[in-house]
Symmetry: C2
Subunit: 482 residues, 2 copies
């Protein structure tokens, strides 16, 4: 067996290091581990036991087998951009980092497919096929650095999922290492309704609790012939919301239909990509239409008409690709931009029926009043996916807790109007208890039973996605084990 | 307890009858049961023990509870149009017929949703909202009589799923009676990426083996402003196939892109809806484009150009809605039309990568030679979903068996080029063994373990979807129970 020189006598770390070929197979010293104590959800931090860097499926399987046999908790991590804490090692896990599995394995333009490793960065796929006229549709705002493996775990969305669907709609097949170390192929490339149960759908969005994805076949799309993009400024939120509904009602399916409110505008204008939004307006809509060139102008005309009917103050169409890119950079860096107007912020991720937009925004305003914290709203208005950003200062005692409570209240409001507690960021550790807003104990139990099928010892990413068991469920479990 | 007058002393039938209110709660006499001995897959027939007709979820739950407690196998049935035998009572099941649960419960145009009972007929939904400008997209050819509950069980597709996706892409939520009689809500209306595992996706297409769906929330769509439809006749299959690829490569996403071959044309022209296809051509394409009116003409022009480049003999655009409807009736009744040229036929349902179309059609031709049976091809060419129709005469000894073998060979060809054994008809009892063409023993086992979570006693629709266990799996099971 290969020898690796390590500054530790921990036998597990010694053994794990030997399972992975090449230089620097493992990190285990505290100063190195600190970089892995949280992901994009920075409120809870836990140190992992170690971080290993396998370079292929077989190495992942060996590490998983080792952890399983030695009862070591473990989890997979991509770029660590997740926003709900799915990659935080709350049980001192061995982190299996997939960043060295970052190859584009195959592109099949004729059948519109590509095969990537999980550590391949989302936007790189589009870059590597754009000269041939193709792209990969799911576009989370973090796409310049997040990995497709992570996108699969969280079933990531993005600004354009209104028209093109979320990650699950673009995954055609995958190779998965199960928690027992078996390597299996799931789904069938290019088959819209594969035989048997839809395991592909089940794994997608399972937040790393059922297996570790080691290869992914994705659908790629032909670039639309044309795109046109509109900015519309409204003096009243209610007019902006109504315009959103009216555009959809007109039968137009925009590629994207985004909204930002007044506080959000203050943030993005103070940050790296200002575009000169007026600061006294209550809502800006960013609307994009794409497709076959013929017909796009007419759709834009219809959109402008709707905006005028809804008392838009000003509306403009991007005059160049450069201008369009600038508008999108302003929007896509919106979360981070909150750093320009607040020391800390908490992103929430609720979903509501589109028709409830005005009511819910009003209720979020009330929550802001109650908790005495500013809340900005940047969101995918077209599909009712809200992102309230609770601004706070973690240096002020008690303010972090208040922000968390305010965020949770926002989700309660979404759940109460028939919506949901996450649209694209996942549950992770952040929203475990909020699962009770939308699921009964029985429904949660049915889900944990499915986890048991794949992950019977619960060594893989334990403590995520589900609330702590209710006393009732605990009693049931005790009775079972008698 | 209510008394029901029955001509049987079977205590189970007596008891079941009492669980359902109203007249005629149950059928149990042989002459009545004969109508339920098969579904659209008519090759295997089995009599059920009885057929009960609940009128609401609570009655379904009571019947399920009764069956569970008394160890009676049971299954759900809609209109019985399934093509793979999913509703055939191979174990003498109690059939829970859902045809009396046929109400449209709610339409919410603003949020584009409707709630239906499982026995509601697919096409009725479109009819009931079309005057307001909306429709329900999944359109299996049997849509005039098949039920939405059955569509969910089979994850039904249809001619327009190339652009609009299959049933699973249109289901937003459901109420399900689990095999233990519990009633649970699954999924969340209008949430593209609901928290927790994707149970909605898991249940959709599970072929009635995990639970009985008693309420379904579906997405409804705005009618496209315009539709245009093209018929294109090709002297050579290879030109037709290449035109299919070229249209997609041009960046057009047709609403439908259907193909029929020479034998299929012979059938449809001899049946109820002839449209005058030339009988000496090798392939006809039926191509439909829909969407915003502006731009449609240009897309049609592009399609005509592609067809001309690929040596089309003749190409025409429908001149009226009446003509368009006629062309579709010709296509949609295509399976049944085979009855005009053959005493019996077996529909197969394979999927292949679009680029393999010419090769696979050639191989199917060879299978036809080998088995000395004519095979017609009617299919969704745009998404590579083939329907070889094996023509045979069940009165000729051995011909049924030969047809089944030829059908299975066609699926093997699809599987071998990286495709699949079903695109929209399901596995049922018909393709259980063919599951081994695409799944390993381990993969099949993982799926049966999921079935056990929902359906631990396997009383619900047993013997469907999975092959009989291999000897190896049987030994494992025996070892487990020791």
């Amino acid at each position: 067996m290969r020898r690796v020189k390590l500054k530790t006598k921990d036998p597990h770390i010694q053994s794990l290091a030997k399972l992975v070929e090449g230089p620097n197979p493992i990190l285990y010293q505290k100063e190195d581990l600190l970089a892995y104590d949280c992901d994009g959800f920075t409120i809870h931090k836990h140190l992992p036991k170690a971080v290993v860097f396998p370079k292929n499926s077989e190495e992942v399987a060996k590490v998983v087998q080792y952890c399983s046999e030695h009862d070591l908790p473990f989890l997979a991590r991509g770029a660590g951009t997740g926003l709900s804490g799915g990659a935080i090692p709350v049980n001192g896990e061995v982190i299996i980092s997939l960043v060295r599995m970052k190859r584009l394995l195959r592109v099949d333009l004729e059948n519109r497919q590509a095969v990537v490793e999980p550590g391949y960065v989302n936007l790189k796929l589009t870059h590597s096929i754009s000269d041939k006229g193709y792209y990969y549709a799911p576009d989370p705002s973090s796409q310049y650095c997040c990995t497709i493996g992570g996108n699969v775990a969280e079933n990531a969305g993005g600004a354009h999922c209104l028209k093109y669907g979320v990650t699950t709609n673009h995954i055609l097949g995958m190779e998965v290492v199960l928690p027992n170390g078996e390597i299996v192929d799931i789904g069938q490339e290019g088959v819209p309704d594969a035989p048997g149960y839809d395991l592909l759908g089940l794994l997608t969005g399972s937040e790393g609790t059922l297996g570790i994805v080691t290869k992914i076949t994705v659908r790629i799309l032909k670039n639309p012939q044309e795109k046109q993009t509109v900015l519309a400024y409204f003096d009243r939120v209610v007019d902006g919301s109504q315009a959103v509904s009216d555009i959809i009602s007109a039968g137009i399916v925009p590629a994207a239909l985004e909204m930002m409110d007044k506080i959000a505008i203050e943030g993005v204008e103070a940050a790296a990509f200002p575009v000169g939004h007026p600061k006294d307006i209550e809502a800006v809509l960013l609307i994009e239409v794409d497709g076959i060139a013929a017909g796009i102008d007419e759709q834009i005309e219809q959109i402008l008409d709707v905006c005028r009917t809804r008392h838009v103050r000003e509306v403009k169409v991007a005059q160049s690709e450069e201008e369009r890119q600038k508008w999108w950079a302003n929007r896509k860096t919106g979360f981070g931009a909150m750093g320009a107007i607040s020391p800390d912020y908490l992103v929430q991720d609720g979903v509501i029926p589109r028709s409830k937009l005005p009511t819910v925004l009003e209720q979020i305003g009330q929550i802001s009043e109650t908790y005495q914290l500013r809340i900005a709203n940047i969101f995918h208005a077209g599909d009712g996916n809200l992102h309230p950003l609770v601004l706070f200062d973690s240096r002020v005692p008690g303010e972090t807790e208040r922000a968390l409570e305010a965020g949770s209240e926002c989700l309660k409001v979404c759940a109460d109007v028939g919506g949901s507690i996450t649209g694209e960021h996942g549950v992770g550790i952040e929203k475990r208890e909020e699962m009770r807003f939308v699921f009964t104990e029985e429904e949660i139990e049915a889900q944990t039973e499915i986890r048991e099928v794949f992950n019977p010892s619960n060594l893989l990413n334990a403590g995520k996605l589900f609330p702590s068991p209710s006393r009732c469920a605990e009693v049931k479990q005790e009775l079972k084990s008698v």
